[in-house]
Amino acid sequence: MVSAEVLGPEGATVLLLGNEAIARGALEAGLGFAAAYPGTPSTEIVETLSYAARKLGIYVEWSTNEKVALESAFAASISGVRALAAMKHVGLNVAADAFMSISYTGVRAGLLVVSAEDPSMWSSQNEQDNRYYGLMGYVPVFEPSSPQEAKDMAKAAFDFSEALETPVLMTPTTRVSHTRGPVTLGKLMPGKPLGDFSRNPERYTLIPAHARLRRKAMIERWLRVKEEVEKLPFNTIEGTSKIAIVASGISYSYVKEATERLGIDATIVKIGTPVPVPRKLLLKALSDATKVLVVEELEPIVEQQVKSIISEEGLNVEVHGKDYIGFEGEMTLDRVARALLEFSGRSPTEIPWKPLRPVQIELPPRPPAMCPGCPHRATYYTLRRAVNSLRVKAIYSGDIGCYSLGVLPPFREQDTILEMGGSVGAANGFSEVNKDKVVIAIVGDSTFYHAALPALANAVYNRHPMLVLVMDNRVTAMTGEQPNPSTGVNALGEPTTPIPIESVARGLGVEKVVVFDPYNTREAFNSLREALRYVIEEKKPAVAVARRACSLYIDRMARRMGYETPLYAVVEDKCTACGVCYNAFTCPAIMVKDDGKAWIDPDLCTGCGVCAQICPFNAIIKVREGSPEWYKLWF
């Protein structure tokens, strides 16, 4: 949910999420075009911009993947329209090919690439430091320390980009992107959505002869970038002392609080541009220092640059960083406090806060779970039974989405999870070298369009037997139900033509395609058996589409509109306490009572009715009919 304050008047101080602040900064900078693929912790940037788009007349889209988003934004930029592409950190891997080339061509109107980093992997498969992409691609990197600075930086990044004709990479980490804080607003300056592209093949067509010239231009540009970052207000020095602490991005906020509360006297060098670091400013700050501690999340990007500057200048300063602060996980106040005390020769026992003893009883784990009524749960439940009925063993090649939760008990139907689209890609290899098992690639609708299409074409053409099971819940659910080509609306909620997954599969030459409703367990079982049998007997790929909209999405709409959902309940006398519904199906709406019998929480039941079909004793019945409008919400 986007805060309406994001479009508030100049001068107002409002509470904004870091990502909303980035969007606001872009809107103050004359943004005209924005494209993104959703991914935590980046999603709210373009979600906010799509909210603003209709009011301000700019163009905003959810693209099919990050590469497409960045290429589109690039085209807008070199046509003279200020543009933004946003993604999560691993999204930049997908867009990396375009990213590296865009640094060669350079840009025309400001181009800001936002890659939201996720140290601690709160919602990601890895933690990687995309500031390396800046070093690798000669692209300046801006790293904000707070929501306010995120807004100011986003705004400044467009001017910087345009003045130097360079793309700018901004890398907020989770605790900036997903922290709400006070932000004082500047003037809204919506940009023009239309541009005027002029041909310039020597610059924009990277054939080898041109690329060699562009590489030279890029390296020359980098020298100017190094000069210009010195002038930005995001790099600052506070205090003078023999001890210096250099802190980049959010780490500055921890250092600021820790030094205050621990009474540590140090020169604090705040770094807002970790790539390239402001050399002159650092030399000034370090001129009186005897030792330096670099505090930054993830990799020693600033630390290594500081070490190289010190060595180049022949300074007698001791430089530390990761040896005190560590590599893994996000920064915390505790981590910084410990490192600062140790670094300044004091004892960690001086930390003024002391954790109490954790409770000594065993607490049940509470991992994330598929929601009540989630169609994925129904599909997983039936898939396992369909596989068992054929007396085969399966390899479940998994993917990124809410359905990744199928890795957890009781389902355990994800044997590998790598990256977006990896399910179908890996299934190509699995099927070739594991002839005694049936290979099932499980992928969501959005992920299917994102990166699974080339892998499916490969499976058809190279004849790899596999079942590609597309869990089509019609929206990009995990990141907050953004539309994708299965949905039928665009980022602004305007209708567009959905692309049915079964048509894509047939178009790519898949000869066996089944579509079923996971809420109908018999239909689902028969369809899955039929498709699996085809894969086993014909030794060719088949596609099964499990089509049912995200129950969270429908339930939220129903509640908003005031439509009554159907309600199911357990018939006390018929329930034998067998536990199938709460242990094998595990709908969170189904509770277990002290006597082992099931009870359905009417507050949580979404009325999907699957539990009534799987109960071996017919002990679950519909006790309230849903309103006709509720049935019409499903798409």
């Binding site: 006070p182 906020s253 106040l333 409770v359 595990t586």
Partner: protein
């Protein structure tokens, strides 16, 4: 002495914790205080344990260090127990008297008494309990439990100097279903004014 207040909100994804934290933060902002809210989004939100760090006053770090929370505010008992050690020396544990069973097959859930005893044993303080579910039902539904807890929190006096009642009511009044939310807030406040002393 710089003033700061740290509240660790803990509960289960879907209970309205983010809304609760940002409502308190907006009220603080209205009062002229800086406020930071560090949230949990994405995958971890789906029915899993959720914690939100809310800090006000002279603060920079968005995260609360273990042992530095003036209040551990639970929307659920198991989750309150899980984070009870974040409480500071003079801090309180204020929690909804609600237990939600994790959707994990064969999971063993401690009883209410086991949880309360364990919290008291480990932290040396009794958690302040609020019948949030019952009060929320009076306000129109269990989804209002979060605002019950806001009312209860205000009644403990811990927000003094950072949020006052009129700030709170102004912000809650701007939410959707503001009547229900305001009623829940008042019920929580009235309950805690007599029952939660700390």
């Amino acid at each position: 002495m710089p003033r700061r207040l740290s509240i660790l909100l803990t509960g289960v994804g879907g209970q309205g914790i983010i809304t609760l934290a940002s409502t308190i933060a907006k009220a603080a902002l209205l009062h002229g205080e800086k406020a930071l809210v560090a949230e949990t989004h994405g995958l971890s939100q789906r029915g899993g344990s959720v914690e939100v760090h809310l800090r006000m006053g002279n603060v920079y770090s968005p995260l609360i260090a273990p042992g530095d929370a003036d209040v551990v505010l639970g929307l659920e008992l198991i989750e309150a127990a899980r984070k009870a050690h974040y409480t500071s020396e003079n801090g309180i544990i204020l929690t909804a008297d609600i237990i939600l069973r994790p959707a994990v097959p064969g999971v063993k859930v401690p009883s209410r008494e086991e949880l309360l005893n364990a919290i008291e044993e480990a932290t040396g303080r009794k958690p302040l309990l609020v019948p949030a579910r019952e009060l929320a039902l009076k306000a129109g539904g269990t989804i209002y439990s979060n605002m019950v807890m806001f009312g209860a929190l205000l009644a403990t006096g811990r927000l003094e100097g950072f949020v006052d009642r009129s700030d709170a009511e102004k912000v809650i009044g701007s939410l959707r279903k503001s009547e229900n939310n305001l009623k829940a807030f008042k019920l929580g406040f009235d309950y805690c004014r007599s029952a939660c002393t700390s």
